[in-house]
């Protein structure tokens, strides 16, 4: 399990590939890798967005993420997992979050990845403030529930 808070832009593909080649020693057991990348859009709730600031609670954020990963490890058989979350000033197209899960079987990889993302979005103390192209600033009010079906 590795959790990183990144103040710099990161390349999610490079991070996953590098983690896989340097940190995982039982590659032969890996049958399934599930990767989720959350990216900053240039729109949100009907407004054009030109930037974002991500605040967090140093210490608590890492602690909550670790607890989330431990919960996932209790529920699914995982070989390893990597979470990277960006903080600070972010531009459209940049990666906000990466969740990668390695497992022997796809069910575990898919379900754990989904769980990690939903738990992260509901429990990890991060807060987004958007800078609109009108130069108006606004805090994002709350995260949606990603499991919910859209109408």
């Amino acid at each position: 399990m590795t959790i990183k808070i990144s103040t710099q832009a990161f390349d999610p593909f490079h991070e996953v590939q590098s983690y896989q080649s340097t940190r995982l020693d039982n590659l032969g057991a890996i049958g399934a890798t599930s990767i989720f990348i959350g990216t900053m859009r240039d729109f949100n709730e009907n407004a054009a967005v030109k930037g974002m600031t991500l605040e967090y609670y140093p210490g608590m954020t890492e602690k909550q993420l670790e607890e989330i990963v431990i919960q996932a490890q209790c529920q699914w058989q995982l070989i390893d997992s990597l979470i990277i979350h960006r903080v600070g000033n972010i531009l459209p197209h940049e990666s906000i979050v990466l969740v990668a899960v390695w497992s022997s079987h796809r069910g575990d990889a898919f379900d754990a990845n989904r769980y990690l993302m939903e738990a992260l979005k509901s429990k990890a103390p991060f807060w987004k403030k958007e800078l609109l192209i009108t130069d108006q600033e606004r805090w994002v009010a709350s995260n949606t529930n990603g499991y919910k079906q859209k109408s």
């Binding site: 609670y57 991060f126 807060w127």
Partner: protein, 77 residues
């Protein structure tokens, strides 16, 4: 009893400060800590509360040396 109180995101911005160091002589709940630190400013209803970086309910008691944090719903990911 010495308590550190922290505020994040819109709560911090609305209060105009990020933390308080408070001293009390009796046991307080997290909610009472907020009220003593911010008299006349009710805690927004959707706020979350943590003591020592774990989520707690508003009526949880705060101990000497604890760090109490108040913040709006999280919006990461």
């Amino acid at each position: 009893m010495s308590i550190k109180v922290r505020y994040f995101a819109s709560l911090k911005e609305n209060l105009g400060r990020s933390e308080d160091e408070l001293t009390f002589t009796r046991l307080l709940t997290a909610h009472e800590v907020w009220n003593c630190a911010n008299p006349g400013k009710p805690l927004p209803g959707n706020s979350l509360v943590a003591i020592n970086m774990d989520y707690v309910e508003l009526d949880n008691l705060v101990k000497d040396g604890d760090e109490v944090a108040f913040f709006p719903p999280v919006t990461g990911g």
